[in-house]
């Protein structure tokens, strides 16, 4: 199925791509990373729920399959184009208007640290309408409110089709809140990433 030209246009105009996901989103995150083209010319920020202390090999695995530079965020890292940033475990990731990340160890949000809401809300305040954000599978409502703020600030907002998500609650919450401007099938998300 061809993508709505409106989505494509907005996607192409976005400087920052934000993707949030929790339980059941790992496979799709991995496909996203594998399908990002070297000349995407955007900053990609991934916020995945994960447990502290289990320094999975996620970064290593993702970096091996990525065509662009990928790193776990450290405090005050500058946001650069053609780079994939991964929010570290046990911190919230915030964005400063000067164009760098700030980390934060405050209370979990929706039992989650990193919280997708925290990063999305911060991006909504700093970037106005310059983002494209996608919310994937997950078993709680983190990310829905952040996605709404992104939408209200004029950014492109997408939820994974809950029927295809392993855990429907997260994208479902966003849709119920009217935070997702578009609902996409998994293959369309990949298609979008590749354009």
């Amino acid at each position: 199925m061809a993508l709505d030209p409106q989505i494509l246009k907005r996607w192409q105009a976005a400087d920052i791509v934000l993707i949030g996901g929790s339980a059941g989103s790992f496979k799709l995150f991995f496909s996203v990373v594998k399908n990002i083209n070297a000349d995407i010319n955007k900053t990609i920020i991934l916020v995945m729920h994960r447990k502290k202390n289990f320094f999975s090999e996620i970064e290593k695995l993702f970096a091996e399959h990525s065509r662009i530079y990928l790193k776990e965020i450290a405090d005050k890292d500058e946001l650069k184009k053609n780079t994939i940033y991964i929010a570290p475990a046990n911190y919230h990731t915030l964005i400063e208007k000067e164009g760098y990340f700030s980390l934060d160890v405050s209370e979990p949000v929706w039992y989650s640290k990193p919280s997708i809401d925290v990063t999305f809300e911060s991006a909504a305040e700093v970037f106005n309408g310059r983002c494209a954000a996608i919310l994937l599978s997950g078993a709680n409502q983190d990310g829905a409110e952040g996605l709404l703020k992104l939408r209200q600030s004029g950014s492109l907002t997408i939820a994974q089709d809950p029927q295809e998500a392993e855990m429907a609650e997260m994208p479902r919450s966003a849709i119920d809140m009217d935070a997702a401007e578009f609902i996409l099938k998994t293959e369309d998300i990949i298609h979008l990433i590749r354009t």
Binding site: K97, S102, L103, V126, Q152, S153, M177
Partner: protein, 276 residues
């Protein structure tokens, strides 16, 4: 459902910062704005305060500022947070500290004391606790009261137990506590030779000379210029070859101080002072 886009606007935040500085003498101007905005917005929403109400209470209500300070600064901490960090200290820093007759340690931004007591346990397990003195400082008087008590909810201690095991320490964390109902009190022996007092990294100076300074997850709230000023304070507070430990995601970014500190562990951000 309608959601408010943001609690406090950028120009209101600047106004608040100058008000707090003028009335209470605390300077937040070089704090990272993203977190500060979020914390202030949170207070406003929890207490249902408009920006005007907030300013009014900060100026006119006794004791409100102390409460504001507690809420605006982040006091979330854990015992043995980042277990690999404690393993590295054990391997790389303790042998150096062992060579001294008397060791002074400063934990800057100690919050409710978990990090100070984690170090105390580490030093005791290494057999050098008796010759060490740990200073814990924070800008917040309330959290320091908690730190001095050394009493934590049993639920919290249980949640730190996994960190303890992963830090490769023997026995279990509860071995260092007396548990009564739902409260766990740190053994008095571990409280010995610790001192908790108020110190503001932004405005206060050097107060002693240390072999080890830990300041973990404090720099994340400061902008790069303020970080550099505090690195200068730490540099001047360290004995020759003294160690500085930052948080696992905090690195020395200042070019000047990259030359003044040697990287001992680049993953856990353990540094050693070069020169005198």
């Amino acid at each position: 459902m309608k959601v408010q886009l943001s609690g406090i606007a950028p120009e209101e935040l600047s106004e608040l910062i100058s008000l707090v500085k003028g009335v209470h003498g605390f300077d937040f101007s070089d704090y990272g704005k993203a977190s500060l905005t979020r914390r202030v917005s949170r207070i406003m929403s929890l207490k249902k305060l408009s920006f005007y109400d907030l300013k009014h209470r900060l100026v006119n209500e006794d004791g409100f500022f102390q409460h504001f300070l507690e809420e605006v600064t982040v006091n979330v901490t854990e015992m043995f947070r980042d277990p690999n960090f404690y393993r590295s200290v054990n391997e790389l820093v303790i042998p150096y500290l062992s060579t001294y007759q008397h060791v002074k340690i400063w934990t800057a931004g100690c919050s409710s004391g978990e990090e100070v007591y984690s170090l105390a346990i580490l030093l005791r397990e290494a057999g050098i606790k008796h010759k060490c003195f740990i200073y814990g400082t924070d800008i917040n008087t309330e959290v320091l009261k908690e730190a001095r008590k050394g009493i934590y909810s049993f639920r919290k201690i249980k949640s730190y137990a996994e960190n303890y095991v992963m830090a490769s320490l023997k026995g279990s964390l509860t071995d260092h506590f007396t548990v009564m109902y739902d409260a766990a009190t740190i053994h008095s022996e571990l409280k010995q030779d610790t001192l908790f007092s108020v110190h503001n990294l932004v405005s206060d100076g050097v107060f002693n000379e240390f072999q080890l300074i830990t300041c973990r997850n404090v720099f994340i709230y400061f902008d790069n210029a303020l970080q550099e000023r505090i690195l200068d304070l730490f540099y001047n507070s360290l004995a020759p070859h003294g160690f500085l430990c930052l948080g696992s995601k905090e690195t020395i970014r200042s070019e000047t101080f990259r030359k003044k500190f040697k990287v001992i562990n680049g993953k856990e951000n353990i540094y050693q002072k070069i020169g005198t």
